[in-house]
Amino acid sequence: MSRPAVVFPLLLIALVACLLFGVGLGAVFLPPGRLLAIVAQQLGWWRGPVTWPANEAVILFQVRLPRVVAGALVGAALATAGTLLQGLLRNPLADPYLIGVSSGAGLGATVAALLSPVAAGVAGFGLTSILAFAGGLVTVTAVYRLARVGGTVPVTTLLLAGFAVSSLLVAAMTLMLTISGQLALRIRELFAWLMGGISVVGWTQLAVVAPVLLIGLCLAWTFARSLNAFALGEEGAAYVGVDVERQKLLIVALGTLLTGIAVTLSGLVGFVGLVVPHAMRMLLGPNHRILLPAAALGGACFLVLADLGARTVLAPVELPVGVVTAILGVPFFLYLLQRSKRPHVL
């Protein structure tokens, strides 16, 4: 059997397992049987006696399930966006954060915190999300234009421009935090947002974001063959029939949108977009027709687990999920690096 034929079912099983863990574990333990019973009862299929406390249904439907679904979607979106950018830029170190999504979104969130007098604005789906989303988009657009040299966007230039613009925006953000008394009061909230966290997701947010993200994930797959051809470089890709400028713009736009939307749910979760595509590439090879769906599944598993870790390891204290992704992701990444026998072809 081919490798994908083995790995895809395993990834699907892993995702189901991660979702069950994510929904079942926490301050209140909900065993799988209980989960089924609660769902069945909610759907009206369960006629028997209710043997569990009433709050368990609330925990499941109002707290855990939206959070786990959001985690899966965000993980899939970030990993897919990372795969898109790594493929386009022919560089396994690329990810939408590196070209300015994170700093732009961070600045947007800071501005939102400054403008909005409502405390919930920082973590909710209000002004913060909108400004973070807009900030990420605007920043990537600026970086992309700044990196253009004579009709092409060389990788190093793009990463350097991303780094430079990001530094500037982070400085602007720090300046705002330093001089604004209003922001100083909300620095913890803001910091939590910047480190990532999926704590306050509700169904209303998901209803808006989930369809968009799912469509984005499917759209990403339509770029698989263009991304493969981009391995030849931009000129080489053009020679085999890729409309390079158009595809490049669409791929960067889609990667940025996926990341920007994910950020509205989770704040700035790092490392998923970098480590998951790379890990999947080591397992399954670089063909994007296989890599893109694999990265989406892997990213979903990874972030659901990371979020589970974030809320259970030091419970009742909740860790920023970005901290957990790094703590889980780095050793795994280094293990993969060590294990592969051939030197990595950048």
Binding site: A237, V242, R289
Partner: protein
């Protein structure tokens, strides 16, 4: 067996129009900016008639011009390449052959004039349409990540892919055929990055053939290859070309390989075509001297009879032999 198709060597003094392909150079003459020698345009057929009577040329380059910011300008150049021709584009570094190559490949847009593929203006074709008819083996292609040779060859089918589908059975046939033609089937599953220079070049040729083109352009196909792989590569091109309608155009630095393998040589200097014809017409001391600014000696290949060029060390020559 392929050498039989080469034209017989001309008498050394013979200076007429090419025996292989009479070619028009009206652009370079009408503006009076051409090099002094060669390009005897009066004997040549007019562009409109497209070389041979009634036949649509594979490539028609019509008063094409290009300007770089630094002031270098190319053209105007006019050339016709007939279907099934095998052409080598020669010239010193900076002569404009890479620029002309890219103009024909559609990677650069001409500042004036036009390039036709068959009867169609290439600027009227989308990249996708163009890639189905014209394939390019560019120089110094590297492939990141661990793509296999078969995967790289499959990139040649990009222009045939509907939006969502994977490789169709037609794609797979074309890929298998391209691998077989270039004798790369046995390392189809190896990673492209682990290939030697010669193997890599053949794999890229296979990718281009998977596009099933009418015209194949290769930019310095023998660059960085040792003599074994140089000969292997050009033998392969000649085999692919033999009997078929595939038109092959390459840029080449090696004048001797050009002489041995290509019935038609086009020599460029300072953004102009300065000679166009068979090896015996182009590889002449009074042609090469002013172009390469070296004292060059012409020899005869002992078995093939074609002219070969040997440099004279140490002398910055004026072109005299």
């Amino acid at each position: 067996m392929c050498y039989e198709s080469l034209p017989p060597p001309l008498p050394y003094e013979g200076r007429g129009a090419s025996t292989v392909s009479p070619v028009a150079l009206p652009g370079s003459t009408s503006r009076g900016r051409h090099h002094e020698q060669r390009s005897s345009p009066s004997k040549l057929p007019s562009l409109r008639r497209g070389g041979a009577g009634g036949e649509v040329p594979a490539l028609t380059i019509e008063t094409v011009e290009y300007r770089y910011e630094a002031g270098f300008r190319l053209g105007p150049i006019s050339l016709i390449v007939r279907p099934g021709e095998m052409v080598a584009l020669l010239g010193p570094n900076g002569s404009g052959k890479s620029t002309l190559f890219k103009l024909v490949a559609g990677a650069l847009k001409p500042a004036g004039g036009s390039v036709r593929l068959g009867a169609t203006l290439i600027r009227a074709l989308s990249r996708r349409e163009l890639a189905r008819r014209l394939a390019v083996v560019a120089q110094d292609i590297t492939v990141p990540f661990n793509f296999t040779v078969a995967e790289v060859v499959s990139f040649g089918r990009t222009a045939y892919a509907p939006l969502l589908s994977g490789l169709t059975s037609i794609d797979r046939l074309a890929i298998e055929r391209a691998l077989a033609l270039t004798d790369t089937t046995r390392f189809a599953d190896r990673h492209f990055g682990t290939l030697s220079g010669g193997e890599r070049q053949r794999a890229l040729l296979a990718m281009a053939l998977a596009q099933e083109p009418e015209v194949l352009l290769l930019d310095e196909p023998t660059a960085h290859l040792d003599i074994h792989y140089q000969v292997e590569m050009l033998d392969l091109l000649q085999q692919l070309h033999a009997g078929g309608k595939l038109t092959v155009c390459v840029t080449l630095h090696d004048l001797n390989l050009a002489s041995l393998y290509f019935p038609r040589l086009i020599l460029m200097a300072a953004g102009q075509v300065v000679a166009d014809g068979a090896a015996d017409d182009v590889l002449r001391p009074e042609v090469l001297g002013p172009v390469f600014h070296r004292r060059l000696t012409l020899l005869r290949h002992p078995t093939r009879g074609v002219p070969l060029v040997a440099p004279e060390p140490g002398n910055r020559g004026d072109g005299q032999v």
